[in-house]
Amino acid sequence: MKKLLLKKEIDAFRLKAQTLEHPREMVVDLLRAIQDHYGWVPDEGVELTADILGVTPIEVEEVATFYDKIYRQPVGRYPIHICDSICCWTRGGEEIAAYLQKLLGIELGETTADGLFTLLPTCCLGGCGRAPSIMVGQRFHGNLTSEGLEQIIHELRAEAGG
């Protein structure tokens, strides 16, 4: 089974927690590390975080469920955040969202059967000069058209396949 985090990363976090006056400030960093490694944050990830930082699981859970870029459910390998903010909305953002749903055959919030893509709406990506835009993982794409989207999806599929 896939590990939540590598042992050496866990050790590094434990060590760092000892040096901090307020270890709790690392909660998002730790959750994100687990997410980067494991793909999302399962219950065990919340428990591990609590254990490393010396807080209760509920205190971690409160944070984990507060932010929309911490995934408490499995997501695809490439989470696609579709900006639904005002510039994107006035420049065809809804059409982009509809097109992606059609292209991938899933609705917002769902993951494709091959486990590659999850579609998630997001607030402003700060790419307003290049609206409409999306962010795949941490990569920003702007000035999108249906052809542009097809290209992006095509490249990601190729990357995953190869």
Binding site: E21, H22, R24, E25, M26, V27, V28, D29, L31, R32, L53, V55, E59, E62, V63, F66, Y67, D68, K69, I70, H81, S85, I86, C87, W89, T90, T122, C123, C124, L125, G126, G127, C128, G129, R130, A131, S133, M135, Q138, F140, H141, G142, N143
Partner: protein, 636 residues
């Protein structure tokens, strides 16, 4: 290079850097902000490197990848110094020619120049392009000259001069005094006088204090903090350290939203470099002042931009707000006095120290000093980041710098101040950008989003949009905000669907009042603003939606119908071919008819109908005429 231990060593190092730089040597800079990266700036950079090598000019030119230049619409942007020749929308294929022509033969590559859409004239230099010409780039200016990851570049543009001055020539009180005299007001939205805030934190009892940079920038339509942080992180660091010295803090936090990975990356490199050279850490420049910085990444929550939420988030709690007072200056991070400012606010500090309060306060209006960066977006020709002196008029920004509204469309409104702001109509375009004037007009300075809307934009729908955003982003902790926004949103959604009732406007006012008056933080307190400002300036649009079930902008889908005028239809079939819903009955030389039940109102037929025929009408507030009977559809 090892640690720099004194101001003298710093100056010697600066001299050494400048001595190695020949100001007359051609320098090719390439914009590599997030927006340009997304349009292939990386590939252009690779081509540039390759071509410089290939054409054998390695010793004759310098190339530099800089932060965002602001003219995002036209990226990737290449500027060649010392002249300032500006090439737009540069592709990897263009690089060979730029080197062989401009660098080797001093010839301009005409096709890459800016062309004025109105006059058709080309502009060779950056400063001749109207978009740049009418700006005053005091904060953003360095972005296009420096590599954000190079400490040397920052030192070459007077970097750390202000910090040296503060540490060795000024007392903390004098620093606070200088910022007070400059009359700098916070750029994060509320416009609170920064010097005063610093003074509170400085005077607050306690040995341990903190300074914080707010780079959460969540306002829809705003991205100037991103560009400053990505493009000039050292300036923010320097400003922060000056603030820390002034209030007596030795630790700082920079809170960056998770959507800005490049900002985090550049900032992290900048911090490492500063540490390496002793410009962070213990006994900075031998002054005895210690300072360390941590970068904290958000995880996606708009409310975390609100200062008390941000501090909770920093502490590893859910990012929910607390009631104020106590203000963070008295009781902030881990209950210690904390001074939190916006990115742009911090970035102004080194300039104020270098050039003096008098220089700064000479720019702007009576109550608002210095410049402000806006992100000019929406239905405007030149979208991008613009920095103007306070007091510039909205009209100048939108028309002189922004080049007006695209197409033949008419300007309708401009929205400033993000979700807490408001929409201003044509009649108020001469309003000046000034904290107080904008508020009086019913909008807000906010963090600097400026969204232009044309005649096709429905302002009821815009108000609905902002409330939908706020309803998503309300943390739910206090009831007036959570419920007030939800109920207003329900009413507005009904309006855009043709389900509004008489009395809804009064109900909106009542809900707005309650939400405004009793919410805990400014998210709720300002949430009704988009509704109130559109009601104030565009009330007739609301009334049309309610009384006539009509959308005057012909934009609310539930209130419009597409109809082919049988008198005008020539039976060309363009609309028939375009319709994705198979909702058009056509046939050769026959009048085309839209089957209303099947129509999805995508507008495709309207676009497809040749302008010469102009047969597809959009109707609102009136019944769709009976369709021409089958037997009467033959044309000619």
């Amino acid at each position: 290079m090892s640690r720099i231990k004194s101001p003298a060593e710093l100056e010697a190092f600066r001299k050494e850097i400048l001595a190695q730089r020949d100001p007359d040597k051609p320098c090719i800079t390439l914009c590599s902000g997030s927006a340009c990266n997304a349009t292939g700036s990386g590939k252009v950079a690779a081509a540039l490197e390759l071509e410089i090598e290939k054409q054998g000019v390695t010793t004759e030119v310098v190339s530099r990848r800089t932060g965002c230049h602001g003219f995002c619409e036209q990226g990737p942007i290449v500027v060649i110094y010392p002249q300032g020749i500006c090439y737009l929308k540069v592709q990897p294929e263009d690089i060979a020619e730029i080197i062989s022509e401009t660098i080797k033969k001093q010839k301009i590559v005409e096709r890459l120049l800016y062309v004025d859409p109105n006059s058709g004239e080309r502009a060779t230099l950056e400063e001749d392009i109207p978009f740049y010409k009418n700006q005053k780039r005091l904060v953003l200016g360095s972005n296009r000259k420096i590599d954000p990851r190079s400490l040397e570049d920052y030192l070459a543009v007077e970097g750390y001069q202000a910090l040296t001055k503060v540490l060795f020539e000024m007392t903390p009180e004098q620093v606070v005094g200088e910022v007070k005299d400059a009359k700098l007001r916070g750029r994060g939205g509320a416009g609170f006088p920064s010097g005063l805030k610093w003074d509170f934190a400085r005077k607050a009892p306690g040995d341990q204090k903190y300074v914080v940079v707010n780079c959460d920038e969540g306002d829809p339509g705003a991205y100037m903090d991103r560009s400053v942080m990505e493009g000039n992180p050292f300036a923010v660091l320097e400003g922060l350290m000056i603030g820390a010295y002034a209030i007596g803090a030795n630790e700082g936090y920079i809170y960056v939203r998770q959507e800005y990975p490049l900002a985090v990356a550049n900032l992290t490199v900048a911090i490492e470099k500063a540490e390496e050279y002793g410009l962070l850490g213990k006994d900075i420049l031998g002054s005895g002042f210690d300072f360390t910085i941590k970068v904290h990444r958000g995880a996606g929550a708009f409310i975390c931009g609100e200062e008390t939420s941000l501090l909770n988030s920093l502490e590893g709690k859910a990012g929910e707000p607390n009631a104020r007072p106590p203000f963070p200056a008295i009781r902030g991070l881990w209950t210690k006095p904390t001074n939190i400012n916006n990115v742009e606010t911090w970035a102004n500090i080194p300039m104020i120290i270098n050039k003096g309060a008098a220089f700064f306060s000479a720019i702007g209006t009576e109550s608002s000093k210095g410049t402000k960066i806006f992100s000019l977006v929406g239905k405007v020709n030149n979208t991008g980041l613009v920095e103007v002196p306070m007091g510039a008029s909205l009209r100048d920004i939108i028309f002189k710098i922004g080049g007006g509204v695209p197409g033949d469309k008419k300007f309708k409104a401009v929205q400033t101040g993000g979700p807490s702001g408001g929409c201003l109509p044509e009649g108020l375009l001469d309003t000046k950008v000034d904290f107080d004037e904008l508020s009086q007009a019913g909008a807000m300075m906010g963090s600097g989003g400026m969204i232009v809307m044309d005649e096709d934009t429905c302002l009821v729908d815009i108000a609905r949009y902002f409330l939908a955003f706020l309803s998503d982003e309300s943390c739910g902790k206090c009831t007036p905000c959570r419920e007030g926004i939800r109920q207003m949103l329900k009413i507005l959604t009904n309006m855009t669907k043709g389900l509004a009732k008489e009395g809804d406007i009064d109900l909106l006012f009542e809900l707005a009042e309650a939400t405004k008056g009793s919410s805990m933080c400014a998210l709720g307190k300002t949430a009704p603003n988009p509704v109130l400002s559109t009601l104030k300036h565009f009330r007739e649009e609301y009334e049309a939606h309610i009384n006539e079930k009509r959308c005057p902008s012909l934009s609310c889908k539930a209130l419009i119908d597409f109809y082919i005028d049988p008198e005008k239809c020539k039976g060309c079939g363009a609309c028939f071919r375009k319709c994705p819903a198979e909702a058009i009955e056509g046939g050769k030389k026959r009048i085309h008819v839209i089957v209303q039940d099947k129509c999805t109102k995508c507008g495709g037929c309207h676009e497809a109908c040749p302008a010469a025929f102009d047969a597809v009408n959009i109707l609102s507030g009136v019944p769709v005429p009976e369709a021409t009977p089958e037997e009467a559809r033959a044309i000619g």
